[in-house]
């Protein structure tokens, strides 16, 4: 259904590239959620790859490339359909994507069945994707959902004084992972989670969920995203509630902070953490924000690049670095490229990124707080950075495995 948009975007690339074509163009598949609850995130991911392409002059290792963008809707089967289409119909060997957690797990399994494929994660953040039976041709240059929460639990307990909280989050792998990462730090530091409400992805009516929030908690952790997040805030403001919030990484992302309507103002002051901080004053980050703002007119983008745009941008950049190393040669089924990709160390806009043995990023997590700018836009104020976060969150592998995998109830957090 959203193919027209994808085709239009692809057409722009074809039109923008120089006319002389010496050799056949390199085809790179891009998977993004261009329908469903995470549409705005998917669109920003596409902006990320477009900016990367522009910076690279549409060339990798001297070879021109084009993107083939396919739409998914955040469900694993839509991701599978999109990947099959790219591999079987468009004959691509390189794929950037997917965007959402459960899609990532489906792609880990799919990539194992196509040995010469090289897949670089777009922005999906489920822990299992690279931790349990990782695939040799799936690379992830972004942190997982748990790593994005590193340090947040201690921060809200010690600095904000939230001793008792409840959780409202969507019922799929990414929010499980986020709550898992948050709870590990929070509960170890002495906090308590009294209730967890898991709502289906795409929930429109939160009225009863809101009524179910306990009265005696200091704050509510919100692991929602996109339209669901906006619906929740809208309906929460209608009930006149006064609770404080803690935001999951995509709860306070620009996809929500840029939504139309007044309800997002409830988020001002909400602490959160994630892979980006909108108002970080690092020069590389500022350059990236400027590139993003210059590339699109103000009404066709967010106020600053979202997590999705940044991760997709990094994925293309990482691929470009590795392609230079192998001089654009992937005729060996991508074996050399995979070896080089595993060695890539990226000096990305959101901090240094390198990969571990599971081809999972070791990267920086940012603790942030939502603030209102003078012009009314909302932004994520930089609070502190937690550098070199590993997938085991600083625990030994054994200790981390003993905690178990993220689920609706794991880890326990009782006093």
């Amino acid at each position: 259904m959203r193919k027209t948009l994808a085709a239009a975007v692809a057409a722009c690339f074809v039109a923008a590239s120089p006319a002389a074509i010496a050799q056949e163009k390199l085809k790179i598949g891009v998977m993004a959620t261009l329908s469903g609850a995470l549409t705005s995130g998917g669109e920003d991911g596409v902006r990320g790859v477009q900016i990367a392409a522009k910076e690279l002059g549409n060339k990798m290792a001297g070879r021109e490339f084009e993107f083939i963008i396919t739409a998914t809707d955040a469900s694993p089967d839509s991701a599978l359909r999109a990947a099959r289409k790219l591999v079987e119909q468009d004959k691509v060997q390189l794929i950037i994507g997917p965007l959402s957690g459960s899609e990532g797990i489906a792609m880990r399994d799919y990539s194992k069945t196509v040995p010469n494929l090289v897949m670089i994660n777009g922005s999906s953040g489920a822990l299992e994707t690279t931790f349990v039976n990782p695939s040799p041709n799936f690379f992830r240059f972004n942190s997982d959902g748990a790593m994005w929460m590193a340090g947040l639990g201690e921060y809200v307990l010690k600095d904000k004084g939230f001793k008792k909280i409840s959780v409202i989050a969507e019922d799929y792998s990414f929010p499980y992972t986020q709550v898992f990462g948050f709870a590990l730090g929070y509960c170890r530091a002495g906090g308590e989670i009294t209730q967890r409400q898991w709502v289906p992805l795409g929930t429109k009516d939160f009225g009863s969920v809101i009524a179910n929030i306990p009265d005696d908690v200091d704050a509510v952790f919100l692991g929602l995203g996109g339209g669901d997040a906006v619906n929740f805030l809208n309906q929460y403001s209608q009930t006149g509630g006064k609770a404080k919030f803690i935001g999951g990484s995509i709860m306070v992302d620009q996809t929500v902070l840029s939504s139309k309507g007044a309800a997002k103002k409830l988020l001002v002051g909400t602490p959160s953490s994630g892979g980006v901080a909108d108002a970080w004053d690092d020069p590389r980050w500022k350059a990236w924000v400027k590139a993003y703002q210059d590339a699109f007119p103000a009404d066709k983008r967010f106020a600053s690049p979202s997590l999705f745009a940044t991760n997709y941008y990094n994925a293309v950049k990482a691929l470009a670095v590795a392609m230079e190393k192998v001089k654009g040669d992937i005729s060996d089924g991508g074996a050399k490229l995979r070896a080089e990709l595993a060695k890539v160390e990226l000096d990305a806009p959101n901090g240094k990124i390198k990969l571990d043995d599971n081809r999972q990023a070791i990267a920086t997590t940012f603790i942030t707080e939502v603030a209102e700018l003078p012009n009314g836009d909302l932004t994520n104020k930089f609070v502190r950075a937690v550098p070199d976060v590993t997938q085991t969150l600083g625990l030994s592998l054994e200790a981390f495995k003993a905690v178990g995998l993220p689920s609706r109830t794991n880890p326990e957090c009782k006093k």
Partner: protein, 336 residues
């Protein structure tokens, strides 16, 4: 009334008992034992009210859908797109004029006009060809969805509720007692109550229009036998256009309402279409009371499901649909 009780004593008793229990549940102060079984009273009450207001929204969408189907045998699968279009339009008009009511009226009129165009330009030319009409509506829904995505993008939109409708009100239901014996009253969003009242008024007006006016008589006759109706000299095409316009307009109006207390984004069109399909299947195709009953059941099922069995909430609606199809396939309120 006494007639009904005499004919079906057992069912009447069950219904009266159920209503009595419900009233008692709503007004009594819950004991700790009951709280252990049903959770806190505030949760139960709010699920009940939310279910009813959600039902009101579904009723607005589904009544137009069912009217069009009943009269023209046209399963309009672009109905969800009309809803979404009305919502986006309401947002734009609301931002431009600053008035929620203007947005509501303009969305109704413009989407009604789109309905007229669809009927006059497309469906008139394929009358009686049910399958072809249905396929055309699917095509239209895809085109609408892409046009809306192109124009409004993937962002989430909310229609701003007017100040006099925002915020909560206190309802005269005690949900708990404080330690000093003072009752804690239930608070509830005013905008939802307004939507509920609006939907009830609209439903009553529609019922009156259908049962007490000449046009309503024509529509009802058309639902029963449109060939015979046109044979009596009624300009049946005009009736068709009017009904299509009204049904489409209602969808547009519902879009603004839905955009106010929920939100608008791509994909909303198919979700609301699916809900209306379930509503009319449960209630009975072509019946306005059926749409009301179906909407209420689906709304309540979604809300109670989300509180008491969150994992299976999505399934509950469809289980109800399957049960209705198995026991009474023509729908709960349809005439046999």
């Amino acid at each position: 009334m006494s007639d009904v009780i005499a004919r079906r004593p057992i069912w009447s008793l069950i219904i009266i008992l159920a209503v009595a229990i419900l009233v008692w549940l709503v007004f009594s102060i819950w004991t700790p034992g009951m709280e252990a079984m049903f959770g806190r009273k505030r949760v139960f009450l709010s699920a009940l009210f939310n279910g009813i207001t959600l039902g009101a929204l579904y009723f607005l969408v589904a009544s137009g859908f069912t009217l069009i189907f009943g009269l023209m045998r046209n399963v309009n699968l672009a109905h969800g797109s009309l809803y979404l279009f009305g919502g986006y339009l309401g947002y734009s008009i609301g931002e431009w004029s600053g008035s929620w009511l203007v947005a509501l009226v303009v969305a109704f009129l413009v989407v009604a006009l789109v309905g007229v165009l669809m009927q006059v330009l497309l469906f008139r030319w394929m009358e009686g060809q049910d399958l072809r009409q249905t396929l055309v509506t699917i095509g239209l829904s895809i085109i609408f969805a892409d046009l809306l995505l192109w124009n409004y993008g993937g962002d989430t939109f909310q229609v701003t509720a007017p100040d006099w409708l925002s915020g909560p009100v206190t309802l005269p239901f005690a949900v708990a007692l404080r330690s000093n014996g003072e009752a804690v009253m239930m608070t509830y969003p005013l905008v939802r109550i307004a939507i509920l009242v609006g939907a009830i008024i609209l439903g009553v007006l529609m019922w009156l229009a259908l049962n007490r006016t000449r046009v309503g008589m024509l529509v009802r006759a058309g639902v029963d036998d449109r060939d015979m109706l046109s044979a009596t000299g009624v300009r049946v095409q005009l009736v068709f256009v009017m009904v299509f316009a009204f049904g489409a307009g209602l969808a547009g109006l519902a879009g603004v309402v839905g955009g106010t207390f929920q939100s608008l984004q791509p994909g909303e069109d198919t979700r609301i279409l699916l809900s209306s399909l379930v509503v009319v299947i449960v209630g009975g195709m072509g019946s306005i009371p059926g749409a009301a009953v179906g909407a209420l059941i689906v709304g309540l099922a979604e809300q109670f499901g989300s509180v008491y069995m969150p994992t299976y909430a999505v399934m509950l609606t469809f289980i109800i649909m399957v049960a209705v199809l198995a026991v009474r396939p023509e729908g709960l309120a349809a005439r046999r």
